[in-house]
């Protein structure tokens, strides 16, 4: 019989199981808003101020689209396990569509793609809340671009 000593860990890396797709939804709405602002810039205008604003908007669009992808990836990779995937076998395709659409929003300034990104993330949010047995509703975001978002119907405090 051979004795061997080594260290094992319980590896609990997700305290309190806090996940919420709202972060991804706000990021997707931000992408849509930034696309609107970019489209509002006069194409012929080339002042220093205009170029500065343009650069900032593009940079922020890049950041927000990356946030969408990152937040969705975390929920998909860490929260969705066998029981949730069995309940929603389409989650992999949906997440892949979000990744592709997020990249398209980074590459271009397309209102239709930005709106589609919000819708896809809404679908993901709906799927997420269903796995928790929480009903959802669609409401209009109270800020530009006033797109529809999926929200959970939660108990009153």
């Amino acid at each position: 019989m051979i004795f061997k000593m080594s260290t094992a860990q319980a590896h609990c890396d997700i305290p309190c199981k806090i996940y919420d797709p709202m972060i991804a939804q706000v990021a997707a709405l931000s992408v849509a808003r930034l696309v609107d602002l970019l489209l509002e810039i006069e194409s012929g205008e080339a002042s220093i101020e205009s170029q500065n604003e343009f650069t900032r908007l593009v940079q922020e669009k890049e950041v927000q689209a990356r946030n969408v992808k990152s937040e969705v990836n975390i929920i998909w990779g860490d929260y969705f396990k066998s029981p949730q995937i069995e309940q929603h076998p389409g989650v992999h395709d949906l997440v892949h569509s979000i990744m592709m659409c997020g990249s398209k929003c980074k590459q271009g300034v397309d209102k239709a793609e930005a709106t589609r990104l919000v819708e896809l993330v809404n679908d993901f949010a709906d799927m997420f809340w269903q796995t928790k047995g929480v009903a959802t509703k669609r409401v209009i975001a109270p800020y530009p671009p006033a797109l529809a978002i999926v929200q959970p119907i939660l108990a009153d405090a």
Binding site: A8, Q9, K81
Partner: protein
């Protein structure tokens, strides 16, 4: 793995050819190294693990892990200074 095992406990592991649902195992996870978890389900040659601490979760849980990664079953836990508990094998 609270309340069954807490940080600093020494666990004694015995290699078992046949693991069972409910066993506590030490498994050499390819991403995070040695982990100690409870077997929730066994499907074919794959283990699905779970922690005893219901307030926490782990990326090592609920995903299929090859049974070949298991080092063995935890059969006893020693807690400093005087406590030792035997964990009998789960009966069929």
């Amino acid at each position: 793995m609270l309340p069954t095992i807490k940080a600093g406990d020494v666990v004694f592991v015995k290699h078992e050819d046949q693991l069972r649902t409910g066993d506590i195992v030490v498994l050499n996870h390819p991403a995070v190294g040695m982990v100690v978890k409870r077997v929730k389900t066994i499907l074919e040659e794959y283990l699905y693990l779970i922690g005893d601490n219901k307030r926490l979760d782990s990326s090592t849980c609920h995903v299929p892990l090859p049974m070949s990664l298991a080092e063995g079953r935890v059969f006893a836990v020693y807690r400093f200074p005087f406590c030792i508990r035997l964990l009998p094998a789960i009966a069929d």
